[in-house]
Subunit: 313 residues, 2 copies
């Protein structure tokens, strides 16, 4: 039986692996298809992870040290897909794709959440090289430059406002002329001089070259007219998918308490509503979606796992 | 008026400074006497901060990059001691030692908590070089080696248990023969084969050489006999002082909700019971006392400050 099964190998899961194994647990596995690292590996530059300040390094290179460090203390990597997690009596059963089962005393779920893609041409090609889904992370790279924001919900307008304090101009492209965002959020954005709205419109294409994004083609859905804007930053906020599938039982009900947004309810100790089940990172309520905070969660969850196992001895 | 006053320059405060200034706030000051960095600067080696894995570097060198990075986006360092913080109407007044006052729209308090010193000879000399106050941080450096733990409370015995899963033997030195720790915690420790109790005793002296600690002299308070043990790790758990003074008003009452232990009550967003006042790091309830978690808190508090200021516009 595993001391701890960690499901998901982004910053939260890796840090949980580091802390559990370095904290003396002998038998901890991290379940992640492919190379661990998470969304940050798709970024071309990182400057807001404290202690890492090297603009020549990519997200993939940033995660290089994490790989070595987090697996240096006995953590095992299982390249297997987890289907679901079940508590039976006092322990957990991790059910893998294909039906194989693994028992564990504790489970940390750190599967995260992924921003939805809008689906325009060039979106994937320039993701992390001009196309971003995080204003906090990448806004500063466009200081005093114009940027485009795609979306019309609360997040899109809040992020547009955030960007308007850093960038010269923010062009908000939205497919309708009405906004889902809360009225005060919308009004604040309208009042802000350097936020401009391009309604009834979509991104037709993100265009660029080997260096990254150079501009966007915006199509007006009513006139079909295409307008090109030179613009090196495009922020896409069209929703996110919380990766909570492993927490669903065979009837598609969640095994622990969830928010309306499909995020796991936790306290400051990363406890869920089920004893022995912990969550860390973007999967939890109020997640700030930052590498350093996800890692902080991972450390907390790991220390709680160690305490929980101690208490049962 | 400052957009944000950050009080305390450890990992939480520095990260809050990075995120607020890089997030577009123009006028943010970090109040810290001396060089920012926090307790970690006193460590000789760090291996549990994800992304930093270089055993040749000290805590001071580890914090070097943080200094450059966190001040690179406009954060100002004020080498001034803050006496207290007061909310007046919709803003805050930061009162400095000597009486000078500074106005701020928001405040992040990240003054931390410091482990108490026991007061034996050699304690300061070998702090960070054999003498530690954090089993999670430093236990692994003594893998399969014997260590000494000083203290008889819950924390001491929990940390002794933590160490017993990593180290060969754990010698718990306690000045009485009764323990303040909760009975189940004590019983668990007694049951553990490699935890040994040395009661009615104190650490007389931590001894060592230029490389660090080499052993401890333990005095039995009843017989006055001194026993020397060769031992390269000594963990001291005799309480901690939460640095919450700046949150006291002129009548010594706290301005926000506190726990019985003198820690600030926060939610997952690092909100205190006072709007516009945020806390990050070891000063808060349930703090795991890890650099990465304190930094995670700092990022969260900073993002909440930015939202709070946006909402008021």
């Amino acid at each position: 039986m595993l001391d701890c099964a960690i499901i998901g190998g982004g910053p939260a899961g890796l840090t949980a692996g580091l802390y559990t194994s370095r904290g003396g647990l002998k038998n901890v596995s991290l379940f992640e298809m492919g190379v661990p690292g998470g969304q940050i590996t798709k970024s071309s530059e990182i400057e807001n992870y404290p202690g890492f300040f090297d603009s020549t390094k990519t997200g993939l290179e940033f995660m290089d040290t994490w790989q070595k460090q987090c697996f240096a203390f006995g953590l095992k990597h299982e390249m297997k897909k987890v289907d679901s997690v079940k508590k039976i009596g006092n322990h957990f059963v991790v059910i893998l794709e294909g039906g194989e089962t693994i028992e564990a005393k504790t489970v940390i779920v750190s599967t995260g959440a992924v921003p939805r893609r809008a689906g325009f041409k060039g979106e994937d090609e320039f993701y992390g090289r001009g196309v971003s889904t995080c204003a906090t992370c990448d806004g500063f790279f466009y200081k005093d430059k114009p940027v485009t924001v795609l979306g019309g919900g609360d997040t899109a307008l809040e992020e547009a406002f955030f960007l308007s304090n850093i960038c010269s101009d923010v062009y908000v492209v939205h497919r309708r002329d009405e906004f889902r965002a809360a009225p005060p959020t919308l009004e604040r954005a309208i009042r802000k001089e350097n936020i401009h709205f391009i309604t009834d419109s979509i991104i037709e294409e993100a265009v660029g070259d080997a260096m990254g994004l150079t501009g966007v083609d915006i199509r007006n859905l009513k006139t079909d007219e295409i307008r090109h804007m030179d613009n090196t930053g495009l922020f896409v906020f069209v929703g996110q998918d919380v990766k909570n599938d492993v927490l669903k039982d065979e009837n598609e009900n969640f095994i622990c308490e969830m928010s309306d947004l499909g995020q796991v309810v936790v306290n400051l100790k990363m406890h869920t509503s089920i004893e022995g089940l912990f969550v860390a990172g973007d999967l939890r309520i109020d997640a700030p979606k930052q590498v350093v905070s996800a890692a902080g969660d991972g450390a907390i969850a790991a220390l709680q796992v160690i305490s929980y196992i101690q208490e049962q001895q």
